[in-house]
Point group: C2
Chain length 201, copies 2
């Protein structure tokens, strides 16, 4: 994983690829915007938020102890509108004995295509996720999630992705997704966010 | 949640509904079968299993501390081939601030439709999951996941489901899924498993 990380960091040197800050960082930076956008589109849901519980809220993909859950890093290529996520899941993501849970794979797919939609469209919500699981992924293996923005149609963003082995010889999963912008007039400035973000570990 | 549990336990009294044992229980009971079936269909994946890591494996939906992650109970109606899952997610399943992560919802959907496929077809693997997220689900709210076996075609099982508020007034999510049997000749005896399972807490 370290080797892959270094390879991608090397690609970042000429500026074609960007090492993305975590979604948690972005969410913290924009936390004042979320309630407004959500309330505009989903007033009922917004009113149902339990403020007491909210303070205990923790990002799902960052709620495991080191090495047990979701370990990942994302790199973004702005010219090609694509993200590569290097993902190594821990032993607590098990479904069938010895393999990742379909939900854990769906989670990392959602996180990756979601980030691709965020950097292209700002604050978005997953509207559809259509996943074809072709082969089970052995627990704790390292995989690459390759995500690609296919189209923007008004408030809709279409993003596809696949999950492959590091040598790209095994295609594990393919998916398409649809996101809806919650802030149609406002774009995220990805560069500004990256510049403000902490340096890579 | 306790009230809903009691209501469903009441429905179980006449035998039309069954309180399902956990997937973990089923997996443990059938752990000797999994490697054989997986190896028959996916020999490469099977060989990639890291045996050392496998011993640390924990079911994804049961890998959180009480109250922080996935809290759920499932009830099965054999005559109608459907499962109702009462689900209350904890604060560590957050996506957008104040709402569940799409991946956490996908996980509970996979677990529920997957269980419906297991009780109908034995050892199965998720082949497709197609999820329409209609409204964001407020963090920590209790929802009902209603799953229905629609069709069995040879080794394929089609299961659909929706996620609703407890009063069934809010439709949060809809999904269809396709499962493939890994043991075409062998059926699970759900009643035998339930009888062997621990009494409900």
């Amino acid at each position: 994983m370290r080797l892959l990380f270094d390879q991608f960091m090397k690609k970042c040197e000429d500026g074609s690829w960007i090492h993305l800050p975590s979604y948690e960082y972005i969410a913290t930076q924009r936390s004042q915007d979320f309630p407004t956008f959500i309330h505009a589109y989903f007033p009922t849901a917004s009113e149902l938020i339990n403020k007491e519980k909210l303070s205990q809220g923790r990002l799902f993909t960052r709620s495991f102890e080191d090495g047990l859950g979701f370990e990942y890093v994302m790199f973004y290529n702005d010219a090609e509108k694509r993200i590569v996520c290097v993902f190594q899941g821990g032993p607590h993501l098990q479904g069938m004995p010895g393999f990742f849970h379909g939900g854990a794979i769906a989670t990392m797919i959602d996180a990756t295509v979601g980030m691709n939609a965020i950097v292209s469209g700002g604050i978005v919500m997953t509207a559809n996720l259509n996943i074809n699981f072709k082969r089970p992924i052995p627990l704790c293996s390292i995989v690459l999630i390759n995500s690609q923005l296919d189209k923007i149609e008004g408030r809709k963003l279409l993003v596809s992705c696949n999950v492959q082995s590091v040598d790209e010889k095994i295609l594990y999963t393919e998916a398409t997704s649809l996101f809806v912008k919650l802030n149609p007039e406002k774009e995220f400035d990805i560069k500004e966010l990256v510049l403000k973000s902490a340096p890579p570990a």
